[in-house]
């Protein structure tokens, strides 16, 4: 009996250690071209920065895991997560990940941010400021790998898929497509430079951290860390840092 208990104890220690080792580094999938203010690409001298990165680093410190940031195309992030090659996708609303494998494999943290989405369009294309309904008959464009919003799905025009946000903005600027949906956080600083305009917010989403279901053990700790950040005001501080004080 004593040997049995020893064996169970050793096995338990081994499992805990093995789990600990597995959870040591988590791969985070981020869009290849960066998406300020959420995340920016690392440079030769500086590591990757951004709101998501600050939040994840803080969570990592709290939970005792290390997040490794990998910049890859959006569809590949989802693909790799479906096959457990990437562990985390930050800033995701549950409504956006509805493929069968995603529904099966994904678990979500508590919301840590809200995202307000607006329609971006070229004002030269319209004589009068368009309403939300105007876009139903127009041709949208979006990024490959992004989930289409209801507005884009309902549009009668063909949805043009491109690889980067830069291409997307150029497409609208050159009137190759009529509109695209962007988070206000992302698009506001760029509107002027491209001569584009955005509607008022058309939808608001609760953004969460999406994990593969292999990390379900870790999820309560993550949520606890998020709650702590919210409670201590650290979360707001970080958001304000990247959004600006007005927000």
């Amino acid at each position: 009996m004593r040997y049995f208990l020893y064996s169970v104890f050793i096995y338990f220690i081994f499992i805990c250690k093995a789990s600990g080792e597995l959870l040591d580094i988590l791969d985070v999938g981020l869009m290849a071209q960066g998406r300020p203010p959420y995340f920016s690409l690392p440079t030769a001298t500086e590591p990757a920065t951004g709101l998501y990165i600050d939040i994840l680093d803080e969570i990592g410190r709290e939970v005792g895991v290390k997040f490794r940031y990998r910049f890859i195309p959006q569809p590949r992030i989802r693909h790799l997560m479906n096959h457990y090659r990437i562990d985390v996708e930050p800033g995701i609303a549950e409504e956006w990940r509805l493929d069968s494998l995603e529904l099966k494999n994904s678990i979500y943290s508590h919301s840590f941010l809200t995202s307000s989405e607006a329609i971006v369009y070229n004002p030269h294309h319209f004589k009068t400021p368009p309403s939300k309904n105007t876009f139903n008959t127009l041709e949208p464009c979006s990024i490959l790998g992004f989930s289409d919003l209801d507005l884009e799905k309902g549009s009668q025009g063909e949805n043009n898929k491109v690889l980067t946000e830069m291409q997307l903005l150029k497409m609208i600027q050159h009137q190759r497509c009529d509109f695209a949906v962007f988070p206000e956080d992302v698009i506001k600083p760029k509107l002027h430079a491209f001569g584009l305009m955005a509607t008022k917010s058309i939808a608001v989403f609760d953004l969460k951290l999406r994990f593969t279901d292999r990390h379900s053990v870790l999820l309560p700790k993550i949520n606890k860390a998020i709650e702590k950040m919210v409670t201590t005001g650290l979360m707001n501080e970080m958001i304000n840092k990247y959004r600006g004080l007005s927000d």
């Binding site: 080792e21 195309p73 569809p75 693909h79 096959h83 090659r85 490959l144 790998g145």
Partner: protein
């Protein structure tokens, strides 16, 4: 004749011109054929072009680009692109509908050439390309063969037409003894046909041999290409492994763990060794995307040859130890590389399998080798192709043998359920002193005892013999089909030609004989008409015709000429039709004036017959006008003498006089033969040609027989 020859020349020149145009056309067409790209080259292009799209998962764009590429590459049979993460087919194309993707997964074997798709140093997928077999691709030889056969048969056609034309012209010429329908004519015709058939058979044989050589050349290229593809893949495998192990072993972390393992292995702290081993496996496992993981078999040795780490069961450490000397020493000198394939029997499945191993030196911080890494090669498309993937066509395969010919790789037709393959001898194994770079196509029995076309090559990476082979029966299947077709056509064509010609010949001969007979009857009737007018009997012209024939034959004249004389003889007195009856049938002597008229009958005869192109009528004309001329020039109507008198007329003169003397007429009794002969002899050199008289005398026996046979009815 000249006009006809000119016409013939024109036809020949025209045919030669047609041949030249055809040759120029086909040569031009053949030169338009571009060199065929290999499966490797096409797969490499697709891998490069598709990598960014596969990485971005832009499958819509991938589909468009691939379809455009396939349209431009006519020889593609299949293309399959597989995503490495999900192992799903992201693009598939199949010319014949084989192996298409279903629900994202391939429904068939990934044949053809398999290449990894790499983007930014990451393995993201693989592409498999299958092209049409090269045997079916190249049209150049087809065009050359077609030109060859067209030119050859046109040449034979022209030659044989000339032969037939000459033969026909010869058979109708005056001097020829080769008459249409004669035996000689038939023999010559059959000779011409035999030459034609012989030339066709020889041409067919050379054409078939050329076809066989072309097929063998193509097979040699095919086998060579297969070996080249394999060599290139092995080289790539070697390079890829070098990169991976370089990245793996030249890190501080790896060196630290390896040093700890060396220490703990030596001083026997098992717990620490296990811990360090787990750490090492963790490092190795980071390369799992390349198929290198902690379940893979490997051995790490220190510079003394002691095993520091031994992982996995599939690597036969003892075997490796026995065979690694050169590789181990090479690695200590800083050389990485592949070991020769090792064939082992799996204890569980009791089947032979072959494995490849890679050796890589482990460097310390100052660049000195302080360990050697022996690793099993993962059987993944990106790293190492299972050699059975190089199987091609119905029986083609690639084998790896050692220098004794023992097959180290999988074979397509194992001898037993243990997957044993035995030995495969080749040029290199048979003659170890041969130049290994100078490989050429050979034909001998393979490991099954089946006759095969074999090409061998020495692979320096594997230190083994690479054998690319294909069954002779498969290689030559199209050749045999073609050969049977050609033989069948030749036999049918020759049989048809022979039978048709013989049939035409028989029918033609009969028609000709009938015509000749008919002509002779008409001539005889005309002769009779004249004789009747002169109160002579019908038998006169029969007898004198035979006499003339006998004299001419015995005098040495040509049989065809004699035959013509026999036919023309009845018309010798046709001119008597122009002499009034009161002169011709006058019972008494003729007056001088009447003689003048009477002596005009040769000219009347000549005028009746006229100047004809026909040989027979020309001879009849000569006889009619000159049969009353005399050797000494005292005859009529022109008084010509000697050899100026046509020989036909000279012979007829003797025959006519002899029969006239020995026949009874209303105005005279028949002479005794001896008296008639005596008269003719006495006229030798005067009326008659002496030599002909001699011949006549020598022929009296035959002449008497004729006389007896064709006596006048009383």
């Amino acid at each position: 004749m000249i006009k006809k020859l000119n016409k013939l020349n024109f036809i020949i020149l025209f045919l030669l011109f047609i041949i030249a145009v055809i040759v120029a056309f086909f040569t031009h067409s053949a030169s338009d054929n571009q060199l065929q790209r290999s499966e490797f080259e096409v797969a490499e292009d697709i891998s490069l072009i598709s990598s960014a799209l596969v990485y971005n998962m832009d499958y819509e764009q991938l589909d468009m680009i691939m379809n455009t590429m396939i349209k431009n590459e006519e020889n593609i049979v299949r293309v399959v692109i597989v995503d490495d993460v999900s192992e799903e087919v992201v693009f598939s194309y199949s010319l014949d509908g084989r192996g298409k993707a279903f629900n994202g997964f391939s429904t068939g074997e990934m044949n053809g050439h398999l290449l990894p798709i790499v983007y930014d140093g990451q393995l993201i997928g693989s592409v498999s390309v299958e092209l049409k077999p090269k045997l079916l691709q190249s049209n150049q030889s087809y065009y050359q063969n077609t030109v060859f056969i067209i030119v050859f048969f046109l040449f034979v056609l022209i030659l044989i037409s000339l032969l037939f034309y000459s033969l026909l012209k010869w058979s109708v010429s005056d001097s020829s003894s080769v008459n249409f329908g004669s035996e000689k004519f038939i023999y010559l015709l059959l000779l011409c046909m035999s030459i034609f058939i012989l030339m066709t058979v020889i041409g067919g044989y050379f054409f078939l041999e050329k076809n066989r050589t072309t097929i063998e050349s193509r097979v040699e290229l095919y086998l060579q290409q297969n070996i080249a593809d394999f060599n290139r893949d092995i080289q790539r495998t070697n390079n890829t492994l070098e990169s991976i192990y370089n990245q793996m072993t030249q890190t501080t972390e790896f060196r630290r763990v390896y040093r700890k393992l060396m220490y703990t292995e030596q001083f026997g702290n098992k717990e620490s060794y296990k811990k360090d081993m787990a750490e090492l496996l963790g490092i190795v496992n980071r390369y799992h995307n390349f198929g290198i993981n902690n379940k893979m078999s490997f051995i790490i040795m220190d510079t003394e040859g002691n095993t520091v780490v031994e992982q996995g069961i599939s690597i036969p450490a003892d075997d490796i130890k026995k065979t690694i000397n050169s590789a181990f020493i090479g690695a200590l000198s800083g050389r990485s590389g592949l070991l020769s394939p090792i064939k082992n029997m799996d204890k569980i499945s009791s089947q032979y399998h072959h494995d490849l191993y890679f050796v890589y030196p482990i460097y310390n911080e100052i660049g000195n080798v302080f360990g050697v890494f022996f690793s099993e090669i993962p059987k993944r498309p990106s790293i190492y192709f299972d050699i059975s993937q190089y199987d091609f066509a119905m029986t083609g395969e690639l084998l790896v043998t050692n220098s004794d010919g023992y097959i180290l790789s999988k074979c397509r037709y194992p001898k037993d359920n243990k997957m044993n393959c035995g030995y495969m001898r080749s040029m290199i194994t048979n003659n170890r002193h041969s130049d290994m770079s100078d490989n050429y196509l050979e034909l001998f029995s393979d490991y099954r005892g089946k006759e095969s076309y074999v090409l061998t090559s020495w692979n320096n990476y594997l230190k083994s013999v690479i054998v690319s082979k294909m069954d002779r029966a498969e290689v030559l299947v199209s050749f045999y089909e073609f050969q049977n077709g050609v033989i069948f056509i030749l036999v049918v064509m020759s049989t048809f030609t022979v039978f048709t010609t013989v049939y035409i010949l028989i029918v033609g001969k009969r028609a000709n004989d009938k015509q000749v007979k008919s002509n002779h009857s008409i001539i005889q009737m005309l002769g009779h008409a004249a004789e009747f007018k002169d109160n002579e009997t019908a038998m006169h012209i029969v007898r004198m015709s035979h006499y003339a024939k006998i004299i001419a034959t015995n005098h040495g004249c040509h049989s065809a000429w004699v035959e013509r004389l026999f036919n023309a003889a009845p018309m010798h007195d046709i001119g008597k039709i122009g002499v009034p009856d009161h002169i011709l049938q006058k019972p008494g002597k003729l007056t001088p004036d009447e003689w003048v008229i009477m002596r005009q009958h040769p000219e009347f005869g000549a005028r009746i017959i006229g100047t004809q192109d026909n040989e027979l009528l020309r001879m009849a004309h000569d006889i009619a006008i000159a049969h009353h001329e005399k050797w000494d020039g005292s005859g009529y109507p022109y008084g010509i003498k000697g050899e100026a008198i046509p020989i036909s007329a000279r012979i007829i003169a003797i025959a006519d006089v002899f029969d006239a003397l020995t026949s009874e007429r209303v105005y005279k009794k028949a002479w005794m033969q001896e008296d008639a002969v005596a008269l003719i002899r006495s006229e030798s050199g005067k009326h008659f040609e002496p030599s002909l008289v001699d011949t006549f005398v020598e022929s009296l026996t035959e002449i008497s027989d004729i006389k007896a046979q064709y006596m006048d009815k009383v």
